[in-house]
Amino acid sequence: MKYQSQKIALAYFAVALALFAVQVTLGLVLGWIYVSPNFLSEVLPFNIGRMLHTNSLIVWLLLGFFGAAYYLVPEESEREIHSPKLALLQLAIFVIGTAGVVVTYLFNLFDGNFLMGNGGREFLEQPLWVKVGIVVAALIFLYNISMTVLAGKKTAITNILLLGLWGLALLFLFAFYNPSNLGLDKMYWWYVVHLWVEGTWELVMASILAFLMLKLTGVDREVIEKWLYVIVATALFSGILGTGHHYYWIGTPGYWQWIGSIFSSLEVVPFFGMMAFAFVMVWKGRRDHPNKAALLWSLGCATLAFFGAGVWGFLHTLHGVNYYTHGTQITAAHGHLAFYGAYVCLNLAIISYAMPHLRGRDPYNQVLNMAAFWLMSAGVVFMTFTLTFAGTVQTHLQRVNGEAYMDVQDQLWLFYAMRFGSGVAVVLGAVLFIYAMAFPRREVIEPGYNQPAE
């Protein structure tokens, strides 16, 4: 760690990992509810659990991105963070907001109150006061990071990272606009949801991946930047109009079916680009970096993002297919592998890379971390397959044969049971990862093998 203020990242990563634990634990509970639908139905109804599962995912991924920015921007810009105090204030706002959200959801406090109550829009359920808090925190963050970058060296990595983070914050403003027309409501809703995960977050992903490749492989910055620009160009080209693949059945004009189908089919290109980028860099790289775990997570991220976001996304993106599969377990399969591959693995990669520096040690206990990668990834991949098969059967029985929803759900029991099993593996993997990050102190890999990371 070259700059003291990089230490801020440690606090962000710690909170992120704590929420990660909450997210996967709730995932396990929800997985069990699919198997045994009355489980906890009084204490934690399914809709509440699902809100907490998705909201905690988004918040911890965002905290991971913020942590990553606080870690890598000083190194790239070659100066300390503008104001470490503001960074901690920003984190405090997020923690208070998250706690407020959890309490509000769990006990359904202030139901119907415009300021304090549940907002009621899927994924954007946060009460208004929390949304305002998110905007204030985002403004603090953007001010802090932008001031640091503006005063220091500007690199392609920080430019793209800032572009992604600014875009992410500005698009969140659409969360405040909720027209009473349900079709328009959904149209603007996707400006946040789609243009985050298939637009601005991809820029964040590409830039963090580029930083990791730069550090881990030692390939020239010039080469990495060229890849980065191409990936970002293809991501924006396909992703912005790719929003159309959410406009098939919400009441928007029919031409969106073709715009959405054609542009979103190309969304696989940037994900393929990121996978090719990661592997080509590792093959070309001359540096034998000791942090093998960070490299494993980086390669796993690029690969699983390509399959989860790219391939599984394409599976049901054409409107002729989506007419049948919309809202079935196919969507759940895609959602799980895409988020895991693209954004969970990315965060765990940068955390794996940064932790040894943040805690002043050499890469340690990589075996545990790498075992966590394989356990968690195998779990999510198996889950994706069970849900894909469940979704295929569901599509046929429900959408082709016209059987009733709950009758079909009964017949999917076996898939849900297997999915629960894979969920157990994911939770164990997550626990192992957190343990490997937080606890072991002495085990250092053999001396002489180490080279200082730049």
Binding site: D220, E222, V223, K226, W227, Y229, V230, A233, T234, F237, S238, P253, G254, Y255, W258, I259, I262, F263, S265, L266, V269, A276, V280, K284
Partner: protein
């Protein structure tokens, strides 16, 4: 895609990102043409009946305008390379002017269809007609701005990027013409 660290004389001419854009555009328009031709198979008489409503002489005039404009843009690049800034500017601005002519005729085309009460939802053919020609016209407008922008400094590198884009706009029109207007 090459990952060569430094551009060598025999590597990709022009700007890598422009080539990425050109390839992406060709993919999108290519997919659009393929779907249009595919849908036509499901209803040949309906598509034929829709197509006769188009004004083919205007399309022919637009083709002539764009191809001439492309030639002028290429002359502009040659002039920029030989350092003749004034000649470069005249060629590029003339190319942009013909592009404006294309847009005027296109607007006339759309107005004529609107007078017949034809819109995007009238028939699948018209959905694609408006999508493809509309996207293309938007690129013509962007290309005009690009040409005017690079004419300002008349530097070979910038002119090369803008003319590459302009030739793509040209190429897409030449592919669009048979698929949408003639076949």
């Amino acid at each position: 895609m090459t990952v060569a660290a430094r551009p060598q004389p025999d590597t990709l001419p022009g700007e890598l990102l422009m080539w990425v854009l050109i390839l992406s555009e060709l993919l999108v328009f290519g997919a659009g043409f393929a779907v249009l031709l595919g849908l036509r198979l499901t209803d040949p008489p309906g598509f034929a009946a829709a197509q006769v409503r188009l004004d083919q002489p205007v399309a022919a005039a637009n083709t002539a305008l764009l191809i001439t404009s492309g030639w002028l843009a290429a002359r502009g690049l040659a002039a920029a390379r030989s350092g003749a800034a004034a000649r470069c500017r005249i060629s590029l601005l003339a190319a942009a002017l013909l592009g404006c002519g294309f847009l005027i005729l296109k607007a006339h085309d759309y107005a004529a269809l609107a007078d017949q009460g034809i819109g995007m939802e009238s028939h699948p053919f018209f959905t694609f007609f408006f999508l493809l020609t509309g996207f293309h016209a938007a690129h013509v407008a962007a290309g005009i701005l690009l040409l005017i922008g690079v004419a300002w400094s008349a530097q070979p590198a910038g002119v090369e990027v803008a003319t590459a884009f302009w030739h793509m706009v040209d190429l897409i029109w030449v592919l669009l013409l048979p698929v949408v207007y003639l076949l």
